[in-house]
Amino acid sequence: GAGVSQSPSNKVTEKGKDVELRCDPISGHTALYWYRQSLGQGLEFLIYFQGNSAPDKSGLPSDRFSAERTGGSVSTLTIQRTQQEDSAVYLCASSSGPLESQHFGDGTRLSIL
């Protein structure tokens, strides 16, 4: 499809394991964002990529979280040594520019046991 694609749609893992979440943005979109939505909360900004610029990592909650974007397209969000408080829906969005409307994927629901 032409929209933002995220995988997996659901992930259940044990506390302490590492997880990788993937985002395929809309083709040609230069801006890519990661957010997460914890239960009963709004979406919380995590990290932002724009073209070849250094990413804005100001929203990452701890150094266990990291993200990369290869070739200006696909992005992976990695959470190391997962904790139960990491359980949330992780949403990726892309836009054609930093001030343009963001298009969201359907998210990855992460559950840490």
Binding site: G42, F45, G97, L99
Partner: protein, 115 residues
């Protein structure tokens, strides 16, 4: 501290009537606001936006009003339809006046439109 607040977690409206969803913000420097709609198990979809240089923006059944002095905005849906039932998120562009577009979201209001 929440910078964007949606104080009503839920709202129930009869089909055909007006739905009014409210949002307050704390930072007077915020200059661009958006509303997103979210169905269960789907990502949010952009609905309507407003720049701080305006006080109203209209798109079909959806109108957003901005009151800068009160740091308040509202989304009006007229007439409401059962398909409008969803969670509505208010958001502000976080990097006001800058070149980055990360958004600051409220916690959302769940709208139920009853036939």
């Amino acid at each position: 501290d929440q910078q964007v607040k949606q104080n009503s977690p839920s709202l129930s409206v009869q089909e055909g009537r007006i739905s009014i969803l409210n949002c307050d913000y704390t930072n007077s420097m915020f200059d661009y606001f958006l509303w997103y709609k979210k169905y269960p198990a789907e990502g949010p979809t952009f609905l309507i936006s407003i720049s701080s240089i305006k006080d109203k923006n209209e798109d079909g059944r959806f109108t957003v009003f901005l009151n800068k002095s009160a740091k308040h905005l509202s989304l009006h849906i007229v007439p409401s339809q059962p398909g409008d039932s969803a969670v509505y998120f208010c958001a502000s562009r976080g990097n006001y006046g800058g070149s980055q577009g990360n958004l600051i979201f409220g916690k959302g209001t769940k709208l139920s439109v009853k036939p």
